[in-house]
Symmetry: C2
Subunit: 460 residues, 2 copies
């Protein structure tokens, strides 16, 4: 390999395409440019070279080695691709990873386009913004979603999405905390905990990581854990309306949860990314529960409200009343992490977020949400009519279908094989999801209808 | 406080502004909207309440407690604000945090605006992208910056910036690695290492964290560390062209560095965020050095090339040849972190990145870089003419000015107080920066000229 390396190194010194001219007396000077690529030297390793590949002496992070297979959604994407290879002409419909499909309302994209254009003007240009987000957006989030809840502008940290903030929160907590999750739950909670070293090894017999408290959520307990059987942990991840079960906790249940956290001195990380999908009169925010600001953080996102899954914008609320055991405010450490490990969400995405929270933007977001909720109804009715026990749907864009006694991955595979529809196996969300499949309501109407037609064909 | 809480909770249940209508038969139905905020109940804590504030039983992460004061740049922003309070009419010029000031070329913003608009159409909408970045952009980065270096599209991980990737790399490494940094260096390397628990406590007498190898870079050694005195570490952070000193390592120096890493089995994290500022014939990428792919990661960014400090777009190269001691590819673990803790850069920013790498975009970026390099010349000439020893500037947008025997923070304060110009104290980058001040060349031309006029006035 060293010959190839030498060769490429000697070529590169004379052909770098990003040499800056040393003569820069004029901003509008002519710049000579090379073509993008002048011929690539491929290193073709022989089997012998592979055997003797150089290794560094850096040990792999043992926590990384604990993780199981791939992160769930890339794994599903992989299986989808494999299916497409097998059936190149199949009309695959993806109701799997919960990816939004409907265009972003124009009032929002126009604001992002305007901000983009403005960045090419002297007056409209801005460089680094505050890592915590633009003041106007923080203020709009506080007043729109927490207007009566005594959450202030500086309690809001704007981010590039709730998933990213969950990992940043884990970095704040460090490796010496214990954590609880709903079982089943969105896999980023458990995986980020494993990565930070908060857990033991994966125990194959029970399909759980050591040192995590799995709070079983089943049809029998109304998808709210029996807290009398839950051990104390430092951190409790709680998602409502829930991904994947679609269940939303009631005010009385959340009041119990807050009391449980208070009794134990725990911190709740409350994921409300689907709050706008709520039809029932349940709390949209954990901060509607008295005393929650002393025990809870809330994370949320524009992804599922405005179709921002690719635009990337979310927020996390860390009330200044939330204190570590030594009295140090959690918000101060989160602020330090946000400043050190992050540089703020894209200013263009933030312009979009501000447009989302205008009167017109809010109405447009509610229409998008309403459209997906209609999809949910169609899916619920379909499985209902086929005699399945169906959960969720009413307060969340996810339908949680029960296949008692069957393996989730088997059901997932059968549905994919026979209907070309991608779903998500419930067991991917934890052992409590075994025997369930999550069907996402994110899709074009015609795809939802076609998928339901195929489900009816398969299960008639 | 509980009365206020109860009050706000009872109000909120009836006034939530993000209730979705349960009747969603039509996407264009009328949606009733409440005003943003209906009266906020402020909790006014009495002194007694403050004393008895509720604390959770969660211990603060001990690594967070090790960090010193604020992250450098927010601290400078704080001092700037305090200065403005003191002198509300002062024309403050910021040559401190290295924030870009020139508009983004229109060929790039037009592409971002176009992508924004497209997101409101069925054909142009896209949701979740690959966490690793869009294929076209990965490919364009590989061919533009590494065209002859045998770096492939799938070695490139697109991100929301180099700073964010540095923290993600630290998460990959975990807490059991040792690290080395240039001293002085960009503070995110050390701070992210402290946060991950790789270091000991801060030792006030030497202004260093325990268990970090500080590789002193001074005018005496040409700002390249004497590797014969450097202990082995697992990870070596190396930035060239350097922030803050502006020094660029030569091919022969980088060859020594790669050999040093190889001898020690270390991994180099090479920060090339200023490579396009290089005037001399030094490597733009560590991968120009034969064998580097077996020992190095490279991180870079569009921030300082295209003014993307607020747009957020960067990338990291993790060659598949780079292996942990057990033979496991580092890229696989990085990929897992990117998939689990991140969701990809904004699709709009990525459209901008692709435009940056078009023929026209590259030319436009070089003009932006050229403009800042002219600023650099002006600053270098100014301090030169005042008899200061000046370093950097030629290969980087930073000028490193020596104030022998003086405290960096004192010089910073004096300059701010007497000229209203914000710089960066060298000691903020590590003890090796004591006695220096970093002057950033990012600024409008008239501000650079005015700042230099004031410097001449102060030091004449």
């Amino acid at each position: 390999m060293s010959l190839a390396h030498n060769l490429s190194a000697s070529i590169s010194s004379s052909s770098s395409t990003f040499l800056v001219q040393t003569n820069f007396n004029s901003r509008t000077r002519n710049v000579s440019m090379k073509a993008k690529s002048i011929g690539i030297c491929k290193c073709i390793a022989t089997p012998q070279e592979l055997q003797t590949a150089y290794k560094t002496k850096v040990s792999r992070n043992a926590n990384m080695a604990k993780l199981q297979a791939g992160y769930l959604f890339p794994e599903i994407a992989r299986r989808r691709s494999a299916h497409l290879l097998k059936y190149p002409d199949a009309q695959v419909i993806s109701l799997g990873i919960g990816d939004t499909t409907e265009p972003i309302p124009e009032v929002i994209t126009a604001a992002m386009a305007k901000r983009s254009h403005a960045l090419s003007t002297l007056e409209g240009y801005s460089g680094y913004g505050a890592e915590q987000g633009e003041k106007l957006l923080r203020s709009a989030i506080a007043s729109t979603y927490y207007g009566n809840l005594d959450i202030e502008e500086d309690d809001i940290f704007v981010s590039d999405g709730a998933k990213c903030d969950i990992s940043r929160l884990q970095v704040v907590f460090g490796s010496n905390v214990t954590m609880a999750v709903q079982d089943p739950s969105y896999p980023a909670y458990v995986d980020s905990s494993v990565i930070m070293g908060q857990t033991g090894l994966f125990q194959k017999d029970v399909e759980k990581f050591g040192n995590i408290e799995y709070m079983r959520c089943t049809p029998e307990n109304g998808f709210f854990p029996d807290l009398s059987t839950v051990s104390r942990t430092d951190v409790i991840f709680f998602c409502s309306p829930n991904n994947p079960t679609g269940a939303a906790a009631t005010r009385s249940q959340l009041t119990k949860l807050v009391q449980f956290a208070k009794d134990n001195g725990s911190i709740i990380v409350y994921d409300s990314a689907y709050a706008m999908y709520m039809s029932d009169d349940n709390p949209r925010s954990i901060f509607e529960i008295p005393g929650a600001k002393e025990v809870a953080i809330e994370t949320s996102s524009f992804s599922k409200y405005a179709g921002f899954t690719g635009v990337r914008l979310g927020w996390t609320v860390v009330p200044k009343q939330l204190l570590f055991s030594d009295g140090f405010p959690v918000a101060k450490d989160f602020n330090r992490i946000v400043s050190t490990c992050f540089n703020g969400a894209s200013n263009i995405s933030q312009a979009g977020g501000l447009a989302c929270l205008s009167q017109e933007g809010l109405k447009a977001m509610q229409e998008v949400v309403g459209f997906y909720k209609e999809n949910t109804d169609i899916i619920v009715e379909t499985f209902d009519s086929l005699g399945f026990k169906v959960y969720g749907g009413r307060n969340a864009p996810y339908v949680w279908v029960h296949f008692p006694g069957q393996s989730s991955w088997d059901v997932f595979s059968e549905i994919l094989e026979k209907t070309h529809v991608v779903t998500t196996p419930g067991s991917g969300f934890g052992p409590g999801g075994e025997g369930f499949v999550r069907v996402s309501a994110f899709g074009h109407r015609e795809n939802i209808l076609e998928a339901c037609r195929r489900f009816k064909e398969l299960y008639k």
